[in-house]
């Protein structure tokens, strides 16, 4: 049986981070996908917190995870609300539609 060590968990969290960032940077379609990618990045970091909390038998890491998850929940609530408003305004939840910060010229 293969024992799972720290490297395996780190590979998983790195994979999560890379997937999240890649999605975040290159998402061209939906704003919701962006939000999901941000969640993935946050999950990558929480995985690391849990991993090292277990490894060092330190409760602080577990505690931090709860805070991160709470913030992530709040963030997605606000994010979804923003997307909803954006959709009402532009009839679209498309990333390429969110260009109102661009100079009009």
């Amino acid at each position: 049986m293969i024992s799972l060590g720290i490297p395996h968990y780190l590979i998983i969290s790195t994979a999560l981070l890379v997937i999240g960032l890649t999605g975040f940077l290159f998402a061209r379609k939906s704003l919701v996908v962006l939000l999901m990618c941000i969640e993935l990045v946050l999950l990558a970091s929480t995985t690391n917190f849990v991993l090292f909390a277990r490894h060092y038998a330190d409760i602080d890491g577990h505690l931090t995870v709860f805070f991160v998850l709470t913030v992530a929940a709040a963030e997605s609530a606000i994010g979804l609300a923003l997307i909803l408003l954006f959709f009402r305004k532009t009839q679209s939840a498309n990333v390429s539609a969110a260009v109102s910060l661009r100079e009009s010229a």
Binding site: L21, L25, F26, R28, L34, V95, A98, S100, R102, E103
Partner: protein, 662 residues
């Protein structure tokens, strides 16, 4: 101590404040009453102080310390001596006459109260000037009268020519004031004071000084100061080449031409040089220069008076010419003669101007002598008064001009200065020119046929509203206009006979206006004086008298032969020489040329600044701008690119932390 002399300059200023600020509220009669009261009281006080001075009283008193800077004390003070009380008398009497004349003359002008305030203010400032005991106060008065002159030339401020004229007067006077200020600065530097008496006390030291003038080597300090002060006097008293403003100042209302630009303000330069006779005496160079400038002005401006067609400009050029006589007399060290001519001239020239004003008013603002004629039947009193003034101006005995002009010519003849010989001849030419232009004016305006029928040209004064009259109602003016005529005419006639024995040949000025023994050749004429009657009889044998009479006869022949002066359009075709004369010797052209040179220099330096220095300075912002333009392309408003920058930033920061901090 009797301080009542303080009221002499303050009462007119008070009058000016009343008319200027609350005149409209008080109404015309009350304001006029107060203003005239102020003038009457001032005149009364002047007479009182004249009497005091005649009894040997002298006042030289600082009454107020205006400013103290370290060792420098500037105070307000008054000096009453024969010269200043004489000037007081001239200023107050002419001013009072002009005040009375103004009542009717400016009656319909909407700026009546403003006008009244200005002439009262002028009187006050002029009196402060002549009574000053230090240069600072004299300079205050000097600039004050300049300011009022500016305001009054541009009195009809909607008239474009008037605005140009007052600008011109102001700018030309700035040129002279620069000289004047530099002179004051030098005086202050080497004496440490501006008080007249203190400067005179320092004079023996001052004479020994040499001054290093830039690269020109050593010059005598006294000469330099005297020259600079005289440049100031040249602009105020309108001597060539700083005379150009005076003919144009005729744009103002006629009463102020009489008061300011003929009788009083323009003599401030003559007064200042006389006041400083002790200093000017120390410099032969400057005396010589003054005589030359005066003589050139006297003759050349007399010529210009002949070619003028505007009645006021004729009298204005005549004023320039007479100021030239005064300056020439100053150059000959005959200060009291110059001052005496100042006095006689003030009366008859004010009268000529007021008369010209009455004629202009009667002809409904027609100023061209070609449109006048035959007025003698309609305006006999005006005619008589102006005739007396013209005779006085021409120097015919026994009128006042004779007693002042003849000694000037004698003084220049006897002067030991280098330029005296040709100055004398120029003045003699002037003697013949004066009656010619005066009587050319008199004959054309008052004799001959009435030319009003051809009047179609008007010099409009938008502010005058009495144009609804017709041209055939030319009549003798109102009595408030005639009264000043008669008073001034009486004085024009008697001033010479009355005052010459005391002022010219007596001791009136002997302690005030002093000439060095080396320059006192002219005092010869005092020795030859054997009473007024004798001089009048002597006049029969004198060349100037015959020249003057000749001038009158030539004028009569000229008017008889050429009854209708050609219109401008025809004369403009005249040859170069005639055009040169008609353009006033091209001084205006020269000044324009000078100004355009300065303007192009300014344009050159301005472009140097704009393209050279500003260009260099602007290189830096340009670079920033170019790169800024590139960078802002990055902010394209798309979320993914912002996210990309954010992530890249985080990665870079992390990399930095990992590789450089550890």
């Amino acid at each position: 101590m009797n301080h009542s002399y303080l009221l002499i300059p303050t009462l007119p200023v008070l009058g000016a404040l009343i008319s200027g600020f609350i005149g409209r509220r008080l109404g015309k009669p009350v304001t006029l009453f107060l203003a005239l009261c102020a003038m009457f009281c001032t005149l009364g006080l002047s007479v009182y102080w004249l009497d005091q001075i005649n009894h040997g009283v002298r006042i030289n008193q600082d009454i107020y310390t205006w400013a103290v800077f370290g060792d420098a004390v500037f105070s307000v003070g008054f000096l009453l001596d024969p010269l200043s009380v004489m000037m007081n008398m001239v200023v107050c009497s002419i001013s009072l006459m002009v005040h009375i004349y103004t009542i009717k003359y400016m009656e319909h002008d909407e700026g009546f109260f403003r006008f009244l305030a200005y002439i009262s203010l002028f009187t006050g400032v002029m009196l402060a000037l002549v009574m000053a005991n230090n240069f600072l106060q004299l300079f205050f008065g000097w600039e004050g009268v300049g300011l009022v002159s500016y305001l009054l030339i541009g009195f009809w401020y909607t008239k474009e020519t008037a605005i140009y004229a007052n600008m011109k007067a102001f700018i030309v006077n700035r040129v002279g004031d620069l000289g004047f200020l530099l002179g004051l600065g030098l005086l202050y530097k080497f004496t440490g004071t501006l008080d007249f008496q203190a400067i005179f006390n320092h004079l023996p030291d001052l004479v020994k000084h040499q001054y290093e003038l830039f690269g020109f080597g050593q010059v005598q300090l006294v000469s330099l100061i005297a020259l600079l002060l005289f440049i100031g006097a040249m602009s105020k008293s309108a001597q060539i080449p700083l005379h150009a403003w005076l003919p144009d100042s005729m744009e103002g209302p006629t009463p102020i031409s009489a008061l300011i630009h003929a009788a009083t303000m323009v003599t401030a330069g003559i007064f200042m040089v006389s006041r400083f006779s002790l200093l000017f005496e120390q410099s032969d160079t400057v005396l010589n220069f003054m005589m030359g400038i005066g003589a050139i002005t006297a003759a050349s401006m007399g010529v210009l008076a002949i070619v003028q067609r505007d009645i006021k400009r004729i009298v204005a050029y005549s004023t320039l010419s007479q100021l030239g006589y005064m300056t020439a007399a100053l150059g000959a060290s005959a200060y009291r003669v110059a001052v005496f001519h100042l006095l006689t001239h003030a009366f008859f020239k004010a009268l000529l101007f007021l008369g010209a004003g009455a004629v202009i008013l009667a002809k409904h603002h027609e100023q061209d002598i070609r449109r006048m004629g035959g007025l003698i039947r309609k305006m006999p009193v005006t005619y008589l008064c102006m005739l007396l003034a013209s005779l006085a101006l021409s120097g015919i005995a026994p009128f006042s001009g004779f007693f002042s002009k003849e000694p000037i010519i004698e003084a220049v003849k006897l002067s030991s200065q280098a330029w005296a010989p040709w100055s004398y001849w120029l003045l003699m030419i002037g003697v013949a020119l004066t009656p010619f232009y005066s009587f050319n004016l008199m004959f054309r305006v008052f004799h001959g046929k009435e030319n009003s029928a051809v009047a179609h040209h008007h010099d409009h004064h938008a502010h005058h509203v009495d144009d609804h009259h017709h041209h055939d109602d030319v009549a003798e003016p109102f009595w408030t206009i005639k009264l000043p005529f008669i008073v001034l005419a009486v004085f024009s006639v008697i001033n010479g006979v009355w005052l010459a024995p005391a002022m010219l040949y007596g001791n009136y000025f002997s302690s005030t206006l002093v000439a060095l023994p080396a320059h006192s050749n002219w005092l010869h004429i005092v020795e030859e004086f054997h009473g007024v009657a004798d001089s009048v009889i002597h006049a029969l044998y004198a060349v100037p008298t015959w020249l003057a009479l000749g001038g009158i006869i030539v004028a009569w022949v000229y008017v008889w032969k050429v009854p209708h002066l050609p219109e401008d359009s025809q004369t403009d075709k005249g040859n170069l020489f005639v055009r040169w004369i008609k353009s006033g010797y091209g001084f205006d052209f020269m000044y324009k040329l000078l100004a355009s040179i300065i303007f192009s220099l300014g344009a050159f330096f301005s472009s140097l600044d704009r393209w050279g220095i500003d260009g260099l300075v602007n290189v830096m912002p340009r670079i920033i701008n170019v790169y800024g333009q590139r960078l802002r392309q990055l902010a394209d408003g798309s979320i993914s690119s912002y996210a990309f920058f954010m992530v890249t930033g985080v990665v870079l920061m992390l990399g930095y932390l990992v590789y450089f901090i550890h």
